[in-house]
Each structure stands twice: as C-alpha cells, then as structure tokens.
Amino acid sequence: MTEDRSDIRRLVQSPRAKLIVWRFACAIAFVLAVRVIVRLDWATVAASWLFLLTGLGRSWLLAVVSIVAGGLAAAPLALARVYGPPGVRQAATALIESVRATPELMIVFWVYFTLPIVTGNQVTSWNAALGSLSVIAAVYLAEVFRAGLYSVPRGQSEASAATGMSSFATFLYVVLPQAVRNMVPALIAQLVGLFKTTSLVYAIGVMEFFRSITVTNNAVFAPYELYLVLGLGYFLSCFAITRVVRWFDPKYQLLE
C-alpha cells in the first residue's frame, strides 16, 4: 500500500506530469478568454478590418525598411568606432552614445519638427518616421555590430596575422565571417525593439497600426475590442520575431 502511494507521488511530481498540468491550465485559461472575447461586440470592428490590417502592414514596412537603412548606416559607424583612427573613433563613440541616451520620442519629434527648420525643406510625416526610425536603428545596430566584432577571439586575428595575411584580409576572411555568424540572433532581436518603437510615430501623425486603432476607436468607440486587436497585433508580431531568433539560437537572451 505504502509502495503504491510513493509511486503515485513520484508520478505527480515528475516533470512530465507538471507539464501536462501546466498545459491543461493554459487550455482552460484559453477557453475562458475565448468565451469572454466572443461575447464582445465585433460587428463594428469587423467593418474596418482592412483599414486595421493596412495599419499593421505599415508598421511592418516601417520596421523592416528602417532596420535595413539603419543597418547600412550602422556598418560604417561600428567600423569607425572599432577600427577608426583616434579622432574618428571618439567622434563615432560620442555620436552613438548621445543618440542612445536620447529618448526615442524626442528623436522622432526632432526629425519631424526640426529637420525642416534646419534644411528649409518640407518633410512628410512618413519620411520623418522612416528617417527617425532609421537613426534609432542605426545606433543600436552599430552596437550590435561592435559586439559581434569583439566576440571574435583575439587569437583568431593574431593567428591570421602570423600566417602573413594583411590586416584587411584578416578582417574580411577571418573576423567578419565569424562576427556575422555571432550577431545574427542579436540583429533579428533588434527588430522586436524597433517594431515596438514604430508605435511612437503615432505622435507625428503616421497612420501605422497604433494610430489606425485610435482613429477607429474615435469613430466607433469600441475600446475593449480595439485594444484587444491592438495588443494581439503587436504581441503576435513581436512573438513571431522572437521565435525566429530562438530558431537561430535557442539559448539567446533577448534584451533590447
């Protein structure tokens, strides 16, 4: 009899049983959530689904375009910070650090309100959004590139120098390939942060996902339904990117 009981206890405390209990609890929570969600009034929201989907698409477009543009700008910045001659190195460091210490919202306002004053040309809110998000992406990616370059052990470049390779060849054939491989997860992880940052260009009137939700809410007033869509849109987008990062490196610590 006592043997039976200890068997049961061992069964209940096994990791497998715990996982089953957890999955079961998640399933119950999911069913309850669905029951609540179904009771909400979806007719008003369903009418503007195309508008909302366009907004989500614009957010994705903003994030992807600006991470590509930012990446192009980040490469020379990172190279200047790591390999630049003394003056250039400090200038790049100062530029990267001061932009990183500035609130993202201030950068958005800065590009939108002050770029026209400085250059004398009108800037559309879409271009200002792309510009400011690219600046934000550039400085953060520059740090990712720098970390990637530093992640290659010194012995690698010393060894290739000892075999008689020039410093440029060492960089191109030895350091860069290893650095790129190390920084792929961090690069994609930056997209999570940037995708969330796209919500800030709401403030300068770009009709991205956040603004399209608030505009719809002003028209039909369905805050619970619309904020649920808003949360799901951002959560699923960021979660998808996170999954991609984990696919590259299951142990990657996501900190943007």
Partner: protein, 210 residues
C-alpha cells in the same frame, strides 16, 4: 536660431524636468521592486513559478509601452500620472525580471547544491550565498534598464503628463522654436541619464569593495 527662447521659457523647462525626474524615480523604484521579485521567483526551482513568470515577461515585453499607457488611460480611464506610472513600471519590470533572473542563473548551480547539501533551506542559500553574488553581476545591466526608464518616461507626454517632452512641444507650438527646445530637452535627458549612470557606478564600486 534663437537661444534666448530657452531663458524665456526656463520656468516651463524646469517644471518639465522636475516632473520627468519624479516620474523616472518612481518608475525606477516600482519597476525594480516588481522586477526583482518576479525575477527571483522565476529563478527558483519551482516549475510553475518559472512558467508563470516567463508568461509575465513574454506578455509585457512583446507589447509597446505606448499600448500599455494608452490602455490604462483611455480604456480603464485612470488619471494621467497613475496610468503613466503603472505603464512604465509594468513595462520595465519585465526587463528587470529577465536581467535579475539571468544574474541569478549565472551563479553556478553547484553553489545551490552545496548549500542544500549542508542542510540549509532554499531561502537561506538564496539569501546568504546566491544573492550577494548576483547583486554584483546584476548592477551593470540594471543601469541600462534605469536609463531606459528615463528615456521611456518621455512617452507619458502623449497622455498630457507635463514632463520635459510635453514642455518642449508647448514651446514649439507657441514659438516654433522646436529645434532649440528639443536640443535643451535632450541635453537635460542626457544629464539625468548620466547622473543615474554615475551613481550606479559609485554603488557598484562600493558593493565590489565589500
């Protein structure tokens, strides 16, 4: 460019700076309290605590701060400052929980096993063996998180909390001197951030000296 405008609006900028410092300070305190507790619970051997805390951080980290702040303000109709603070604290606590958890997990598992083998309870080992070591590891990433709180506090201007960013917008609306105002505000933000970085560096030296 007309830098006199800054002197003319010095009272507005000062008020904004005071609000930004207040919101940031309360945000830092709140998110540290919540984040450290969640992070410590997530680092315990308990399966369910680990799952629950990872659900908490996954959910909060994958939503923009703006969504949280607007949700509390417009959907739950909270007053501006509590909505802003709650949003800031929930947002950053998820990151701080991850930083704390990573710091605790970086302490070798053998330390915990050795403590348990000596007959101590989990909480005793945690308090006297793991925590003192984890604090040293966690301080540098915590500084990054605190600077992030200061930066993120600018978002509360969008629900009309009259912080530094809000005052910058006011000056821009009244005088079209957005460039000067934004420059001054950015300089002030960087100053506050450097003050936090400096004090954390001093704290780290004192902790390491012990």
């Amino acid at each position: 460019m007309d830098w006199h405008i800054l002197w003319q609006y010095r009272a507005a900028l000062w008020d904004g700076l005071v609000v930004t410092i207040w919101i940031s300070a309360l945000g830092i305190l709140g998110s540290t309290a919540v984040g450290v507790v969640v992070g410590c619970l997530g680092a315990t051997p308990s399966f369910f605590l680990r799952k629950l805390t990872s659900a908490y951080t996954e959910l909060l980290r994958n939503l923009p701060l703006l969504v949280k702040v607007f949700f509390f303000y417009f959907v739950l109709s909270m007053p501006t400052v509590p909505a802003a603070l709650l949003g800031l604290v929930l947002h950053q606590s998820a990151y701080i929980a991850d930083v704390t958890g990573a710091g605790i997990r970086s302490i070798a598992r053998g330390q915990l096993d050795a403590g348990l083998a000596l007959g101590h309870r989990y909480w005793q080992v945690f308090r006297y063996v793991i925590l003192p070591q984890a604090v040293r590891i966690v301080i540098p990433p915590m500084t990054t998180q605190y600077v992030a709180v200061i930066k993120n506090s600018s978002i509360v201007a969008l629900i009309a909390v009259q912080d530094l960013t809000y005052q910058t917008q006011e000056i821009n609306v009244e005088t079209f001197r957005g460039f000067e105002a934004a420059t001054a505000a950015t300089a002030l933000y960087v100053l506050v951030a450097f003050a936090v970085i400096g004090s954390m560096t001093i704290l780290q030296r004192r902790v390491l000296a012990r």
